[in-house]
Amino acid sequence: MTETSCKLDRRSFVGIALRVAGAAGIGGLAAALAVRRGQSGELAWQLDPHKCVSCGNCATYCVLDESAVKCVHSFPMCGYCDLCTGYFQPSPIELKTGAENQLCPTGAIRRQFIEDPYFEYTIDKELCIGCGKCVKGCNAFGNGSLYLQVQHDRCKNCNECAIAVSCPSQAFSRVPAKDAYLLKIRETKA
């Protein structure tokens, strides 16, 4: 081997140095992103009940056949009314559980007598399609204790949520998966 063939000329040295610096930079960026991801954790889609207008899009725009959005009930806010306007038609024939009196087209709300004159209302998630009709009824006259939430046992957490894109009130956002529900607290209950 001759001495001249081993010698690193200036051009080669600069080239190698740039490649090393580039590799280090990419490695550093990847490490920084990894650390940041580790800090922020997983994200999940959720809708803010304070922004939701109950437009009904949640029922039909989800990529699932049966939407991942369902109604939930804040019991501390509920008035336990006999005439629950989230359960009954605006002008029910009588305050009985017959389908003709019920507001929910899928019969997804259960009414149970507690004590005179109070009734408890619970959501049958198997039947709820997330249309938000009961949410409107509850808000029109009552305390707003019925509201919609993305159910994370069903949500596929799509990169681009089809409901979020169609939401007219921009109620959807990504939230930390560890706190994936935006629950209503007692607000107007006496």
């Binding site: 207008v53 899009n57 008035g79 005439l83 002008s91 004159p117 249309c131 808000n139 006496a190």
Partner: protein
């Protein structure tokens, strides 16, 4: 014509298929509505609207608005009429007093958030005294800008939503404890009215939301709204239930929704003025509770009817409050418009 340019059946079929494919593609793009502009595509059974219930026969409206007072206070909550028909309005940040024509007399800032107000008449032991309902106690003001005397707290659970003043007594409707407290004018607690008592045939007040009204009537009985029962109940000052009236329903003569009326006042001749939430309407009933007429309806109080089904907390309609003066004018606090509306018989 060269042979290559000839349209043979195969080329025609291929061209047709391409055109059909393009047409299908365009159709799919047009039918797809990712932005939701086309609505929810749900059947009519999933719609919720109160529009048809908001229409009121104009023949039933027997009052006309004769004045209005724009308010500058935050979150106006309660209205009352006092001696000389002065109008008192309380809100989150203070008390405003207007003369009967609506000219501002005085505005004072108050410590704490005031929820309701009542003003003693000439027959009260301290005429003209202003009683303010805070969340858990009453404050008494002998003059608008005088020092406030705070009465004893009723505890954390208390939520005072309405006050009434009789000759010797002051009553506070407490939505939190679901009773009416009775005081004398010095602030001494004399008793409680309306608690569930089967022996006295009192079912108890049903108060799903914090709108619980009371007023002293000229017949010497205290009237208390039982909103969850859609009734106005009459009690002696000792707490005996004498009578009640009212029925639920969306019909104009009834009280709508889960719990109404949300506001009540009593005219000098003993007739009742009620204000409802949900479908905002102010109505008059005679002294026995028979519907007489409408003062103002949703066309004025909720001109954008869709607001009645709004689910966003900050956009929802706030219930009106009502008061009456010695000339039987009906004073309506419209918190959504930020004004007081004054109505007189047509």
């Amino acid at each position: 014509m060269p042979a290559s340019a000839k349209l043979n059946p195969l080329n025609f079929a291929i061209g047709g298929l391409i055109l059909a494919g393009i047409a299908v593609g365009v159709l799919v793009v047009l039918m797809n509505d990712p932005s939701g502009d086309g609505g929810n595509r749900l059947p009519d059974a999933f719609d919720y609207s109160l529009e048809e219930y908001q229409k009121i026969d104009p023949a039933l409206v027997k009052y006309r608005q004769t004045a209005e007072i724009p308010l500058e206070m935050q979150e106006p909550r309660g209205v009352a009429a006092g001696i000389d028909d002065k109008i008192y309005v309380v809100g989150k940040d203070g008390l405003a007093v207007f003369d009967p024509q609506g000219t501002e007399v005085k505005t004072v800032r108050l410590e704490g958030e005031t929820q309701c107000v009542a003003v003693a008449g000439k027959d009260h032991s301290v005429p003209g005294r202003i009683y303010l309902g805070m969340k858990d106690h009453i404050q008494a003001l002998d003059t608008v800008d005088g020092p406030a005397i705070s009465w004893e707290s009723l505890g954390e659970k208390a939520n005072l939503t309405s006050l009434a003043v009789a000759e010797q007594d002051v009553f506070a409707a407490d939505a939190g404890n679901r009773i009416v407290w009775r005081y004398d004018a010095s602030g001494k607690l004399l008793g409680r009215i309306g608690g569930k008592d089967e022996a006295r045939n009192i079912r108890g007040f049903v108060i799903p939301s914090p709108y619980f009204e009371t007023a002293a009537a000229p017949d010497g009985l205290l009237r208390v709204v039982n909103p969850g029962a859609h009734k106005i109940e009459a009690f002696t000052f000792d707490g005996h239930l004498e009578l009640s009236w009212g029925q639920r329903g969306l019909d104009v003569a009834a009280f709508c929704g889960c719990c109404n009326p949300a506001a009540m006042a009593i005219l000098p001749d003993g007739r009742f003025v009620t204000g409802e939430k949900g479908i905002p309407r102010v109505k008059v009933y005679d002294a026995e509770g028979k519907f007489e007429c409408v003062v103002v309806g949703p066309d004025v109080l909720a001109p954008n009817f869709s607001a009645t089904t709004e689910t966003r907390e900050d956009m929802r309609l706030k219930p009106v409050d009502v008061a009456v003066d010695s000339k039987s004018r009906i004073i309506v606090l419209d918190p959504n418009a930020g004004k007081v509306r004054i109505f007189e018989k047509k």
